[in-house]
Amino acid sequence: MNFAQVLVNSLITASELGIIAVGLTLTFSLLKFANFAHVETAVAGAYLAWTLNVRLGLNFAVSIAAAVLVMGLAGVVIDRLVFRIFRNADDVAPMIASLGLAIAIRYSMQAIFGPRFLRYDFGIAPGMRIVGAFVTRQQVWILGIVLLAIVGFHILLQYTTIGKAMRATSTNPELAQASGVNTEWVIAWVWFLGTAFAALGGALVAWDTQLVPELGFNLVIPVFCVVLIGGVGSVYGALLGALVVGLAVNFGVAVNFAPLANLIGGADWVSSLRIPADYKPAIVYLAVVLILLLRPSGFMRRELA
């Protein structure tokens, strides 16, 4: 096992899942429902960035920034049109609405962009070698952008008035309203940021890999697992959860468990014992089960803190 390489792979998986999961958990923390359309907005953001960059010839960075901004605003509009009417309902109605929305977005993407895979216009070449690991230029960028986004979000959440209002509203919406906080405005901000993060994550995944309409289908389970591990509604928990999932799936398939098995068995009865790669999704579930057994509500408390 090339430790450095597996670590790099884990970090990339973690950063891509993490940025999408942060957006999901953010909307959950305020609105207390699981938004299944979240990962589909990530895919929509990736398609939008692709359209701006490849079809309309805009600069790549500008395309990503514009897509993130537009999708953020789209998130606010979606809330007004779809989710606002459920504000005082239980959590099942908006969840079902989000499932419908997810299907609508996925099939719209498919209808507009076709079933074929798309790629941003960058050549593919071997990565740079950094301490024995191959790392591509875009992966370095992705790690940097995700780090920057997370730090920026942390600052916004901890030090700005709107960030404090988000945290206050997430813990005690009634008291926030009684304090004069315009919670609808705060919710609009949460949708903007949540969907913008989704779009950023989607664009980065597509940049690092490729863009197909089913991308959301393959992201939805890992992203929800990340959120579960971190503690539903906890932004910092989601980052931790992403790291756990990233490390678990990559080291899970890379590690040779034979020495461990021999230790337990007391003899050299096996030379190679690996988890087959087709069990990768199972590793994610296993991580969720183990962590929820140890900490039934995930790593962090379910509030924006």
């Binding site: 390489q5 792979n9 079933p115 393959n218």
Partner: protein, 423 residues
Amino acid sequence: MPILDQPPKFGRRSLLKLTGAACLTTAMPLPTVAAAQTTEPVKIGVIIGLTGSAAVAGNDSYRAMQLGAEEVNEAGGVLGRPIKLIVEDDEGRPKSGVEAANKLADVDKVAACIGAYQSSIALPVGRLLNEKGVVWVTDATTNDLKTVGPYLFNVAGIAEQAVALVDFVKADKAGAKKLTGIFQNNPIGQDRAKVSEKRAKELGLEWIPALLYQPGATDFRTELQQVVNAGADAILTDIYDSDAPIIQRQLVELGMGDFSNTYSYNPGAYGTLEPNLIEGIKGLNYITGGIRAEAFNKKFLEKFGHIYTDAWGGPPFYDAVWIVATAINLANGLDRKKIRDAMWPAAYHYLGVSGNGDKGFNKWGMQASDQYEKLAYKAGKMVPLSKGPENIVVFRYSDDQGTPLSHAPSEEQNQQLYPGYKP
């Protein structure tokens, strides 16, 4: 007032009585509903991946079927009626395929069904349509297909192809001792792994457990490194067209871009990729040859503006439409069992555009022989490994499975072939 100034008035009811009486008196049968519908098209169901993991091949396959249907109709159709394809998207997912089969069989009441480029869909759909007694023609290739039932037919490729690829590797790469593979984690991938391992061991080669990757995922880095660094001298692959770009990209980015030891069951899947992602990949490709194939390619290009990317995803389905149409005519009606039994003579006497053109079915309803070509990617293009006849690999089952039948097996034979089958 002259009596004939106005025509006599009849109500609808009295008109009906009148015709009824007329029929009675002349002993003519009343016009029946069936007779009134004689120009209604005969429906043929299509289940194919227009979206999903094999969408490129799926769309080309559907185009080929449309071409076939058009030609059948130009030639006079079946039973004096035109045929009409009713297409359902399987989305590359077995569940969608099965739902589509249910709908086509029960709601549309199709005469037969054609489709499924992927074995993962061909198998469950085949099981369902056999229960319902609807002819199901696919070009997927996995050993399990033949055991499904007498309503399942295969018009391309045979599972022994897996054996031939291992043989090809041994002949092509002198001194190769260890083999491994990268296959989809689905029935066909698992079947490939099993057959390849068995054949490798028969030839005295070592087999390292294959990577069964998760179709549709976006991150294969760690598992690709595992399989490439496992020390195999050759890697056998079967990767569908939507997974190929990302797998090849990640191999290149991780410094594993030397593909001279990669051998593919399905090299057509790499057809649309940049040269540096595929240079040196070798494989066995299903080929269509001969003058009929040339004519088909020309028609396809004229009609759709491009040529299909994968010989599996097109020509066999064109043949399937013609064989089904011929079978319906031979059955002289829409009795599904009669259509099934007519499939054998229809295929036996038909010369196709796919493979070597011989579409005859063996007792299992599988094509008895087929042909492949040894290929390699050079500068982004798939080229034959050599020019001579040694480049063509013809498969034929060694036992009586290699014999095409001109007539359907009897029901007694079917019961022996398929233990669970009830006529």
